[in-house]
């Protein structure tokens, strides 16, 4: 039986921030091919700000909901761009999904994860197949739910989510972008992985390792 508390979530944000720093240049290079080359910078900046803001909270007296809302605001204010509103909404929806709880079991965590994906979809208005981060987040959220229902616990759910995110990001190579900066490239976006989907893989994998690794 999993028990995730505020301290675990703070550690999770630290892990994501580290993973983003390590991945920054690869993401910028991906974004340079079909975007404006700043995606890695935005993601590193946003998650560093989130990590620092949640680290300043007193984990012993702060609820997960508050931590997630803090992460949302600090990410948004550090970054703006498109990642800002998308991830801020993700964290705010995640916060709403766990409101009132001090510790989170695997069902709570998967609910939080799925609320995050839904938040990104609602804010960005993207569907799968449009070559965006939704192509990683949507299958990841579905896979997490299915794995949980099959009884694999949080570790199994997040592992399934990470696998699905990876496959989803790979699949974006064959898509033509219709949203965001790459959308103006038409067919020239073919063959290139969407940087938002690539960074989603990094986020989800870091979450998996921090929470269950």
């Amino acid at each position: 039986m999993t028990t995730i508390d505020t301290a675990h979530l703070a550690a999770m944000f630290a892990a994501i921030a580290d993973a983003m720093s390590a991945d920054r240049d690869r993401l910028c290079a991906l974004d340079g091919v079909i975007g404006d080359a700043d995606h890695g910078i935005a993601m590193e900046l946003g998650f560093s700000a989130a990590r620092d803001a949640v680290a300043a909270l007193d984990a012993g007296t702060t609820e997960p909901t508050t931590l997630l809302n803090t992460a949302a605001r600090s990410f948004l204010n550090a970054v703006g761009a498109s990642s800002g509103p998308l991830y801020a909404t993700a964290f705010m929806r995640g916060a709403a999904a766990v409101k009132g709880k001090t510790t989170l079991d695997e069902a709570d965590m998967v609910a939080m994860f799925q609320a995050m994906a839904k938040g990104i979809q609602d804010r960005g208005k993207a569907e799968t197949g449009e070559k965006t981060m939704m192509d990683a987040w949507a299958p990841a959220a579905t896979a997490a739910g299915e794995a949980l229902a099959a009884g694999t616990g949080l570790a199994g759910s997040l592992a399934a989510a990470a696998e699905a995110a990876k496959a989803g990001a790979e699949a974006t190579k064959a898509m033509i972008a219709t949203k965001g900066r790459a959308a103006r490239l038409g067919e020239r976006s073919l063959g290139h992985m969407d940087p938002g989907a690539a960074s989603a893989v990094t986020v989800i994998e870091a979450m998996r390792i921090a929470l269950t690794g």
């Binding site: 091919v33 404006d36 910078i41 935005a42 703006g80 498109s82 800002g84 509103p85």
Partner: protein, 335 residues
């Protein structure tokens, strides 16, 4: 290999730039206390006037805060390089620009900017500030004519924001200011060409690759790749290619007037811009369209990208009045 820049810490480039700008233009600009990315005209906002808030990512200087001042924009919200500002500084701009009659948000049509400015507009609404939004969509290369509303806003911002700022300064109603802003956008057509990439202060790596003898037509203002790449042509050929597209859409009649902007994307020098402008004049003479006013230089750059854009702004009497309306901004003056 890293590019060369005159910066300190790449992560502080924007904030240090803003400090330098406020130091250079203290009579025109100030920042909002506690919101250093919200830059306000010292002389601009006033009671009963529609407030005009513009903004977007850094890296396009003098866009956007160079156009903050009496007669043009009341405030600009500044983002990280090539990134929309987040909602908070935009909201602070709205509050500072608010004269009790409503606030107009104007910015380039990009997914990130739309999300952040929309969030700020919702927040402003909760503070009883009515916000309306007009996006600039002047880049003809970025979507077909049937999808004009999907186009990027690029250097033509200059004309579009100026028209709106003039309307606001003339104390026109919210409906009129919005109408004129939309008309200015509809009558502005831009196309760009890039020769060499720029590099972000934090990475100092070229943000795309291009061959030594290549150019990229349809380039945007964030270094994002354009729609077609080919061998570098002559100035006249490039200008013709861009004007063919622009004039096909604008379709001005003999005897009509335009305003012209030949804009450097950063490192292309005035000499080359003026060579392009020569061809612009020839082409317009050929079709009996006169140039009411021209601007040539750095208006909407992309850091050190090499390249240029041509904008034509199709004038009628009303847009000409707005264009001629005096303004006194930090980096731009008319009258």
């Amino acid at each position: 290999m890293q590019t060369k820049k005159i910066i300190n810490d790449g992560n502080r480039a924007v904030d240090e730039m803003l400090e330098g700008i406020l130091a250079a233009h203290p009579r025109h600009l100030k920042s909002v206390d506690g919101s250093p990315r919200s830059i306000i005209a010292r002389d601009g906002p006033r009671q009963g006037k529609i407030g005009l808030v513009i903004g977007g990512g850094s890296g396009h200087e003098p866009s956007f805060l160079g156009f903050v001042g009496k007669g043009l924009a009341d405030a600009a919200a500044i983002g990280n390089v090539f990134a929309s500002p987040p909602p908070d500084p935009i909201l602070e701009c709205a509050k500072a620009a608010d004269g009790g009659a409503g606030v107009l948000f104007m910015y380039g049509n990009y997914a990130g900017d739309v999300m952040n400015f929309d969030m700020a507009a919702e927040m402003a609404g909760m503070d009883d500030i009515e916000v309306r939004t007009v996006l600039s969509t002047d880049d003809v290369a970025s979507a077909p004519v049937g999808d004009r509303h999907k186009r990027r806003g690029v250097a033509g911002n200059f004309f579009i924001f100026k028209a709106a700022g003039a309307a606001c300064d003339r104390m026109l109603s919210f409906d009129e200011c919005e109408r004129i802003a939309r008309k200015a956008n509809d009558q502005t057509f831009t196309m760009g060409v890039a020769l060499a990439p720029c590099s972000l202060p934090q990475t100092r790596r070229p943000n795309f690759e291009i061959g030594p003898d290549e150019m990229e037509i349809g380039m945007g203002i964030h270094g994002e790749p354009g729609i077609a790449r080919g061998k570098l042509k002559t100035a006249d050929e490039i200008t013709d290619e861009m004007l063919d597209r622009i004039l096909a859409e604008m379709a001005p009649a003999r005897g009509e007037k335009v305003a012209v902007l030949v804009n450097s994307l950063g490192s292309t020098p005035l000499m080359e811009l003026y060579i392009m402008n020569r061809r612009v004049k020839q082409r317009l003479d050929d079709i009996g369209v006169s140039i009411h006013a021209s601007w040539v230089g750095n208006y909407c750059t992309s850091l050190e990208m090499a390249g240029a854009s041509i904008t034509l702004h199709h004038l009628d009497e009303e847009l000409q009045t707005m264009l001629d309306h005096p303004c006194d901004c930090a980096m731009f003056r008319v009258g």
